[in-house]
Symmetry: C2
């Protein structure tokens, strides 16, 4: 079967959905904003043509059910929301791939049903609460989460109501008794491109620590305070930023280790005033939680040592400590086997970013396939995929489903 025309259709569909946006000329589509109606309408039409029964659950997830011999479905999904000024493939690709695979399989008898899920929310942009869609499926979206409010003061429950749904029915969105979950997603990084590989199996979603470090010194006049009299919070923070960067190189188990200072706030923040206080964020990720915790402890000690030597004080707050989530061992093996069977090199990698599969993995066997991101670009209008890579992912998906 020549999958290039199907791959072409998948890409065209993603590009067409990118036009459903809150703002003209850019792709911005947050949880249950009006353009999500247009996305649902387009996908529903294609799902129905492929013979699927389409519903929208109370969390706003689009769900297309294709019947099989058994009653235990396999889920294929990803998310339909986007970051502001997004590309066309982050999330959406995994949903469109699912529909395309059902259409390819349509003429063959299916031993099990397939349910394609387009999650309403993964990015956490509108409410600062990510994974609203997959948490509803997992049954972990409690009523307290629905109280979160967006910048306009609308609650999640209110947004659901405004979309024509009923938040009280969210418990019914929960799934149980499924074969497993399969997610196709762009890598959003440069690794596959640098290795010359189109696809890789995700074996783990890296654990993540987020911390705030506040360095406190003494604000003072930049002209009248000699260098030896200074307690410059920015100089201390800068020394620590370099430590964070070099910690990856120093780590004996550095493969896949990433540490980032993404934000730095300087106070009082005037060109002629020595900084008295600096707040810096730290983001550390690794597939092995022990490695990650060790690195966080080391970087905390390092901040304290720098502060002590410079007469600064440092305050550390942990904002987030997410454990790594392993994908299902057997499904991952199967997926890797399908890579080899379609003539591709077996390759496993961790995911540095969180995905819906991470939310569902504790409840069902879950597996993920990454597609190469040209230029490593994502969360940007230039985000793209290669036609051949999409065709290869379709071939892997078909082999995987046929051999299930």
């Amino acid at each position: 079967m020549d999958l290039l025309p199907v791959a072409q259709k998948v890409i065209e569909c993603c590009r067409s959905l990118a036009l459903c946006s809150e703002e003209p000329g850019a792709t911005t589509r947050r949880f249950l904003t009006p353009p999500m109606h247009d996305v649902h309408a387009q996908l529903r039409a294609w799902m129905e043509r492929a013979g699927m029964r389409v519903t929208i659950d109370a969390a706003g997830n689009l769900r297309g059910f294709y019947t099989g011999e058994s009653t235990t479905p396999l889920l294929i999904g990803s998310h339909l929301d986007t970051v502001p000024h997004a590309g066309a493939f982050d999330g959406v690709l995994g949903v469109v791939m699912g529909i395309a695979l059902v259409e390819c399989l349509k003429k063959r008898p299916l031993r099990f049903p397939i349910e394609v899920v387009g999650f309403s929310e993964e990015e956490g942009v509108r409410f600062g609460v990510p994974f609203i869609g997959s948490r509803a499926l997992a049954g972990s979206l409690g009523p307290e989460a629905l109280e979160a409010r967006d910048a306009e003061g609308t609650s999640i429950a209110g947004a659901i109501r405004a979309f024509g749904l009923h938040a009280s029915e969210i418990p019914a969105a929960r799934v149980s008794g499924v074969l497993g979950y399969l997610e196709f997603h762009i890598e959003q990084g440069p690794v596959l491109e640098s290795l010359g590989l189109p696809l890789a199996v995700v074996e783990k979603v890296a654990g993540q620590s987020r911390l705030d470090f506040v360095f406190e010194g003494q604000a003072n006049h930049a002209g009248t305070t000699p260098m030896p009299f200074r307690r410059d919070a920015l100089a201390g923070a800068a020394e620590w930023v370099i430590s964070v960067e070099s910690s990856a190189a120093e780590s004996a188990t550095s493969a896949g280790f990433v540490a980032t200072v993404g934000q730095l706030d300087v106070a009082p923040g005037a060109s002629n005033v020595i900084p008295g206080s600096v707040r810096a964020t730290l983001d550390v990720r690794h597939a092995d939680d022990t490695v990650r915790h060790h690195a966080v402890a080391q970087l905390t000690d390092r901040a304290k040592a720098i502060a002590a030597r410079r007469g600064l004080r440092v305050f550390v707050h942990t904002q987030l400590d997410h454990a790594a989530v392993a994908m299902d061992w057997q499904l991952t093996e199967k997926l890797e086997h399908s890579l080899a069977a379609t003539g591709l090199r077996r390759h496993r990698m961790p995911s540095g970013a969180g995905h819906d599969a991470m939310i569902l993995a504790p409840l069902m066997p879950a597996a993920m396939l990454f597609l190469r991101s040209p230029g490593g670009i994502s969360h940007h209008p230039n985000e793209t995929v290669l036609l051949e890579d999409v065709a290869a992912a379709l071939a892997v998906g078909l082999h995987f489903l046929e051999g299930f």
Copy 2:
């Protein structure tokens, strides 16, 4: 003559003027805001009691003239405006000292007139334009400067009008044919305190460079971009901040050299995004312009070398390049002689901050005396002076004026 009661009166007067503020509970008094009327009223009353003829010129400077045998006056002054949430002594002290000295001299015949000037503006807070008062006296406040507008859209000319003055008369504020200018000012730094000295003669106001450095790398996902693939603008900027700090220690002529990165803006500035761009300010000061220019060139080269090694780009903009301003050689000698004559140790130092004396020095012989700043604290409500230091400064001032 016991000067302690006079010193006490000087301090009480400064503390009383600190209550004239735009906001209750704090001292904030920008150029010609309503509380400046109260300051003028209090000082005018004291000036008149001391036998001075009081006027307010078109730039809002309060001027008290005390007659002498000759017609060529000596000016004594400083500024009456403050930074937001200021202390009670920055600027004001120099004006109040002038009045107190005239009062002390009142019973003795004066060979020359003394004009005490309370400058309307030095800090540059309201209009981003500093030295409005002294520039009017120097004749260097052109009509184009009067177009500058504050946050409310009021021009300098408009503020002058609202205060009941006429900007068109500013040329008449210019002085000529004066003996010289003497300014008492708090040090605003920790040097005198660390040396155990109450007073020092200022021999030079340091030159100052202000530059903007923009480091540009590539914003990217903090979870999916391995360390070797990063072009992190903040890591590059941090390395450079450490260079700036250490440049003072490395410099062979480091005495009085100060270099500060006071502000750093990180974009996009999210904890989970690798910084793509960082804007950093640089403030470099030294009494020797050659040393300063050499340091700026070296720090610019260093930024370029760091950027080149890291695959970043760096853009450098010079915002300001003020030459150092020497005080008058003879007046400075006289002032130092008065220090010794009143039993104090001779000490000269540069000023790292700009002062009104710097504006007037090109036009007339100018001299400055620094008073110790306890804790090195200034631009803060805790800013203070020691009673004995004020008495010592009065003694030095009296000796200086009597021997002129």
